[in-house]
């Protein structure tokens, strides 16, 4: 019999086979794992509407600096401006929304969120890890937005 040395698939159903399977997958994992794991995250936070434009900029700059100090890579940031909230938070009906998209080591996130909790100017915040579909989606969204802005500028000019 040629190719008799190839393991039959049902070998991996046996307990010994399962052990080999886990060992093999773990070896592959070690080989392919990058040295410093960087995930892509997205953070949205809401600042109180009582701040002036300069104070908003200052607060955003503070969080940006916090991230930059910890060796994260800012990919995109967006200011949505003063928006109406769907329900009152701390008796306020509006808030300044701001979005960060960045690549960071997972250990940074916890301390970053503590920074939000300590700051009284922040009404709400949310950080999510982006999977590959989300990254692609955000990229295409940015491209579309850039195209729309370019169109508008072209129309005005």
């Amino acid at each position: 019999m040629a190719k008799a040395w190839i393991l039959p698939p049902h070998f991996f159903w046996t307990s010994r086979g399962k052990m080999w399977k886990t060992l093999l997958t773990f070896a592959v994992h070690l080989k392919t794992k990058p040295f410093l794991s960087m995930n892509q995250y997205e953070t949205i936070f809401i600042l109180t509407p009582v701040l002036s434009d300069e104070q908003v900029k200052e607060a955003v700059g503070k969080f940006e600096k916090f991230l930059n100090d910890r060796g994260t890579k800012m990919i995109h940031q967006e200011s949505w401006g003063l928006r109406k909230l769907a329900y009152p938070i701390q008796k306020k009906m509006t808030g300044f929304y701001h979005l960060f998209e960045f690549q960071a080591d997972p250990t940074v996130i916890a301390s970053f969120e503590v920074e939000f909790k300590r700051d009284e100017r922040v009404l709400r915040f949310l950080t999510v890890r982006l999977d590959k579909h989300a990254i692609a989606f955000n990229q295409s969204r940015r491209v579309k937005k850039g195209a729309a802005e370019a169109l508008n500028e072209g129309g005005e000019a």
Binding site: I46, A86, Y87, V128, A136, F137, R141
Partner: protein, 85 residues
């Protein structure tokens, strides 16, 4: 030659089969920042609509439920509402 011999069974024209809009449009990611889109999966009171009404597949219903909850947390959508839509 295809005839409907069972009167109780409706023909294809009578019953339009529900479909998952995400599978059909090949959408892979549901954005929680887009509140207007998520409004389609929520009733007037701001509650999530069941799968049997929207026809969404289980995979995407889970994603919708997560993104609606995120949108609620960020005050992009209400937790409770009256006469939404």
């Amino acid at each position: 030659m295809i005839s409907n011999s069972f009167a109780a069974i409706p023909t294809q024209e009578e019953t339009r089969k529900k479909f998952c809009r995400f599978k059909k449009a090949r959408i892979k990611h549901i954005d929680y920042k887009d509140a207007d889109f998520l409004l389609k999966f929520v009733n007037e009171q701001g509650k999530l609509l069941p799968r049997r009404i929207t026809g969404t597949s289980l995979k995407f219903q889970r994603k919708i439920s997560v993104s609606v909850k995120r949108a609620r947390h960020l005050a992009l959508m209400p937790y409770v509402a009256d006469g939404l839509k």
